[in-house]
Subunit: 397 residues, 2 copies
């Protein structure tokens, strides 16, 4: 009795989530210490101390009718103002509360934007590999996800392919940098060229093309790499942000959209996005967590923690003979499967209780993703398992 569309969605349902559920089963069977679950981007680093302090402060000192009550569907005005000012201090922008819409995580924000813009048949371009949920989000509104290539081994966008994929159906381009699943941070040069292409195509096709920058990993960059602020390169940019990773609050579903004044039809878009947030059933971002986030904008997650895992894993797996992309951001290691069918490789890994995700979940066969937002212990204990996998494939000889 479920809808035809949902039958497709269920069938193609998230391999990541399936692996996460599998991990919990295996942990119950073998003991959690004997299962190495690298499936999900679920931070093992606790929320920074500021989060607990903020919750206690708000619960003890603010009016509960306000804290837990309805507000404008776009979020509390004081929270939005604080976030706008925080961005202004970082990026020399001039945002006000009107440019911020609080969302149910980045996933909620993306659905709001896609609902706002997409007519059935409209195209949304993104670069492979990409977070597989984009396909569902775009499909929710009858849109078509169009894949543009990246170039190995750096996994930076293939700009010629990108330009060729833009048509008069293209309404939105999604960029995700630092990237899930590769850990690549697109270079400033790449972004300048993407902006040039988009400006040219806008002029040629006589229609706006919006860039949607999906930035849950903005603060997670290593080796001093700077993550460029996309609205500084292309005016028609909307930013989707989440506190899931920066404050280790993935379950709380709290994030925001930045809708700059400079985007085409700003007033209409802001008003429609506010309505979309309401009618999609989000209504508003969770109220307490809005207020918590505003108090924790300067709090930092423990990047050094992830960096230690990154070094450990990258160095060990490279030494084992695996081909890996060295991550510059996020907390994912992108590894070439030693056999063409990466699902077979994932299956062999699972026989060792190593849970990793096949690249086909990200529109990129032949590779796998290892989410290293786990404890150091899990990484260390998993290394001999990866080594034995490498040996089974005769790598590193």
């Amino acid at each position: 009795m479920i809808s035809e569309k949902m039958q497709g969605f269920v069938k193609n349902s998230s391999a990541i989530r399936a692996m996460f559920e599998e991990g919990k089963k295996l942990a119950a069977q073998y003991g959690p210490e004997n299962v190495y679950d690298f499936s999900l981007g679920n931070p093992n680093v606790p929320a920074p101390a500021e989060v607990k302090d903020a919750i206690l402060d708000i619960i003890n000192n603010e009016n509960p009718v306000l804290v837990h009550g309805y507000m404008n569907n776009s979020g509390f005005e004081d929270v939005r103002k604080t976030i706008a000012e925080h961005l202004n201090a970082q990026y020399h922008s001039r945002y006000s509360e009107k440019n911020i819409l609080m969302t149910v995580g980045a996933a909620g924000g993306m659905n709001v934007i896609l609902k706002t813009f997409l007519n059935p048949g409209d195209e949304v371009i993104t670069f492979t590999p990409y977070f597989g949920e984009y396909r569902s989000y775009v499909g929710n509104y009858g849109g078509v996800l169009v894949e543009a290539a990246t170039k190995e081994p750096a996994f930076e966008p293939d700009l010629a392919d990108f330009a060729a994929k833009i048509t008069n159906k293209t309404k939105i381009v999604i960029i995700n940098s630092p990237n899930n699943p590769t850990g690549v941070v697109y270079s400033e040069r790449t972004l300048v060229e993407i902006a040039e292409i988009l400006y040219e195509k806008q002029a040629l096709l006589k229609q706006p093309i919006y860039l949607l920058s999906d930035e849950p990993y903005r603060e997670l960059a290593y080796d001093g790499v700077k993550v460029p602020w996309l609205p500084g390169y292309y005016l028609n940019t909307i930013v989707g942000y989440s506190f899931s990773k920066s404050l280790s609050l993935p379950g709380e579903r709290i994030g925001y959209l930045v809708l700059p004044n400079e985007i085409t039809d700003f007033e209409d878009v802001a008003s429609a996005a506010n309505t979309a947030n309401r009618i999609l059933g989000f209504v508003n971002a969770p109220s307490l967590m809005q207020r918590v986030a505003a108090k924790c904008l300067d709090a930092k997650t423990d990047v050094a923690f992830y960096d230690e895992n990154r070094q450990l894993l990258y160095n060990a797996l490279t030494e084992d003979g695996f081909t890996c992309v060295k991550p510059q951001g996020a907390f994912y290691l992108w590894v070439k499967s030693p056999e063409e069918d990466e699902k077979a490789f994932v299956f062999k890994a699972k026989e060792r209780n190593l849970l990793i995700v096949p690249g086909s979940s990200f529109g990129c066969k032949g590779w796998v993703r290892i989410a290293y937002c786990v404890s150091h212990e899990t990484v260390k204990n998993a290394l001999p398992k990866f080594k034995s996998l490498a040996e089974e494939y005769g790598l590193g000889k």
Copy 2:
């Protein structure tokens, strides 16, 4: 540039929300004590003490990686189990965690169910007057909302009209009792007859028809009125619940769906609803509030507080000469407009800083809704304004 569908949604956007925003502007202009905002179902009663205690207990004693982390998209298993057992104790049911899906409020839950079931063109029946957002929720998935009548003055369903509206396109029937906006609690007799009609039509049309019971006001009933538990009358019933009113947490977006084993295709539906929760961008219900809700299932909101407002308003307005439905549940007073065009009446009320919502927002012209989830003071201070309105219309003479 916004989508054609969104242009329609924005144009028909919620009059309730517009009035709520207007109220905030008027409050800034005239002082909050001089504005009588009866627009929104935003409880003025603070959350019960158990909520604060639960938050402090969880934040001080539970592992933050668990509390704020991802879990199964359907919610924490222990939370779902606790809720199932709580329902079992009340309704002699045999639910387990498999029958509970934690949602982003009732609005999130309804969107999950409509996404799960609706093919474009499928019909969803509800009784007028109804919460206007149903039209948007159904429209999100290409469904068609079909209105079945109620009979004045009791505003109980017109069963002949209901039976006539059921076709082979009917997939879902939405019931909302205690009802927003009328405050009516549908009688047990009505529900028995609705169930009979549905069983007959299922047999005749050889297809399942699901009943979706939208129950944010389940605990809010007066004068000892009992709110029947719909799965006890009709097996194909899904219940959508929210803690917004029972725990005064509307901004927190926390609720759940009950998917009984007895519904047609239970396994498919549960699996699809889990997927829908994820891909619509909810991902999961806010994690801390899931855990808070599970600890506060026995907490009660202050029904006596609402009852006092109910009596005050109902008695005064009836004495003024207004025709009112005496609410048996929820916190809305449904009042007949003294002129045919209730929007003109709403406008005259607004001239006195009385903010109320036109019945056309609920598919029922000629009536207005007064949300009395406000302070006693607001009610008391508003009474002379209502009296002067009545006098302007020459009522009660």
